[in-house]
């Protein structure tokens, strides 16, 4: 592998990693507060991409308007899911997980009659290439990094500097104590669902112009996000960011050298070995 190819895979890995981070952050946030894994995250990513297909490509709205709309709509959908699935089940972890699985398969399968069975493509939003350390990279892929970075910083500020973010951290530490202090646990859980769904929608919306669109497109990013949060430790936000960067780089460099499937198998083996050594991931707290 030449140095140029290495730089290229590293930059592409960074942009793929940013997508993985957006996916993993929502998952880890929701896990930290509610101890559930949102299996529907991949389906939400898919819906985010299709929102771009319809609103930006078919109806001709500006890309950023379509992007924000996708986040808002799917954020609202997240709140609805909390209200209609998570809350009625009242915290039974297993039934909640299975209900979220059923929601996932429902959204994926419904995608075929609704969106059609043919793969869809969104034309490029940013054209051209740019020279990065002597390697030409498409602007489309480069732009993912600052946009995802801005969303991560936004999430960080939201969680650490606002009252609602403080309420989220309080629930993560101790749900009962937070409720006794006057935190409306249901509403804040709903907010976490909304934030997680909106981030997954943003990830899908960013990838829409790069990959082909089909109802199952969310499965791979979901699995990657799982591997990231196992790697970084469930519930840990720095762990998700670091894990996302590591996996993005492994993915891109190994995939360039060996192909995409061996890269996935390798990351899976890596996770099994990591779990043997550290059952709670790199940053995870004891379960």
């Amino acid at each position: 592998m030449t140095a140029a190819l290495l730089v290229q895979s590293a930059v592409i890995g960074l942009s793929i990693g940013s997508i993985y981070i957006l996916m993993a952050l929502g998952l880890t946030l929701m896990f930290g507060m509610m101890h559930i894994i949102n299996f529907a995250h991949g389906a939400v990513y898919m819906l985010g991409a299709f929102a771009i297909y319809y609103v930006y490509f078919q109806w001709g709205a500006p890309y950023f308007a379509a992007f924000v709309l996708a986040m808002l709509l799917l954020g609202a959908f997240g709140y609805l899911v909390e209200r209609s699935i998570y809350r009625p089940i009242k915290g039974g972890v297993e039934p909640t997980l299975v209900a979220l699985l059923a929601l996932t398969t429902l959204l994926q399968a419904a995608g075929y009659p609704v969106f059609g069975t043919l793969d869809k493509h969104v034309p490029p939003v940013f054209s051209g290439t740019r020279n990065v350390l002597g390697v030409m990279i498409s602007v489309e892929r480069l732009m993912i990094i600052p946009i995802a970075g801005a969303l991560v910083v936004g999430l960080y500020l939201f969680i650490n500097k606002t009252r609602m973010g403080a309420a989220m951290r309080a629930i993560e530490q101790d749900k009962e104590a937070a409720a006794l202090q006057g935190v409306n646990v249901n509403v804040i859980n709903g907010l976490a669902f909304a934030v997680g769904f909106a981030l997954a929608a943003a990830a899908g919306a960013l990838m829409a112009p790069i990959f082909k669109l089909d109802p199952m497109m969310g499965e791979q990013p979901l699995l990657k996000a799982f591997i990231i949060i196992i790697l970084g430790g469930l519930g840990s936000i720095p762990g998700a960011i670091l894990g996302g960067l590591i996996l993005g780089l492994i993915d891109s460099i190994v995939a360039t050298a060996l192909g995409a499937e061996p890269a996935f198998l390798l990351s899976f083996v890596f996770i099994i070995l990591l779990l043997l050594w550290r059952p709670t991931g790199l940053f995870g707290h004891a379960l």
Binding site: F39, L97, A109, F226, F268, I271, L275
Partner: protein, 323 residues
Amino acid sequence: MPSNARAATVFVAVVALLIALPFVGGDYYIYLFALVFINVILAASLRPSLTCGQLNIGHSAFMCIGAYTSALLAKNLGVPFEVSLLCGALLAAVVGLAIGYPSLRLRGVYFAMVTVAFVEAIRLIASIWVPLTRGNAGLSVPKPSLLGMSLATRTSQYYLALVLMLIVLVILYKLERSRLGLVWKSIGMAENLAQSLGVDIANHKLLAFTLGCFFAGVAGAFYAHFIRFLFPPEFGFLLATNILVYNFVGGRGHFAGPVVGAVFLSLLSEPFRGSPYETIFFSIVMLLTILFLPGGLITLPGKLAGLRRWRPTSGTYAPPASA
């Protein structure tokens, strides 16, 4: 006990009906019910692991291992069906042991995520190991045989499926009713309490999981020789979810739950088998069951009876108001 006697009567009657089915039904029903039997084995084999509180969303991976092992042994080496079936099941169990050992030390969600990733890993191996499995071009498989006789007719294959299902169900039922079954249940209900009473949690979970993998391998091996064509994407995440759905829709509180769930869903979804509407149907039934009938279908007769004898103050099950 009268309820046990009634259950035994129902069981014998159902088996008699199933034995009689090929004489009254056509080839279509024979084929359909053999598929239902495979689903019943898959659903029931997930139960021990679910009883221990482990959410395994990767059961189809072990079915896949059983199917490919048996198919390849029979096709390439001419191994008789009864041996290849056993080898498929054993390899599924061994792989289950290898995956289960690191991941079962983890609690619920970690384990669930590992199993989801594992399904994808196995599916990928089956797709990209083209020289062995022919990948996504699909693998054709010889017909099953028994003691040297080829089971060429659908009717003979139907009886083979019926016998396999009954053997698996009897073994799993005996295990559930044994001391081991009680230990599994105790782990599922209160893991820390069971541990404090001296139960070896990790090994019991591993045993339940490995056993489930073995029987999933049995189901896969039979499936391979019955359908006679293996295609890696069929063993993906969706099939694994369906196996879980059989258990939850049927009900987890009773041994008959997964059986009822598998039969009910397989038969009702038959008109749209293989289309997206099958999955849509499964998912909606699943969501409705979890939200409105958390105990699953097996609690339905009791609930209906409770409605009939309804008194304003109590149903069949009334949790204390202060809980």
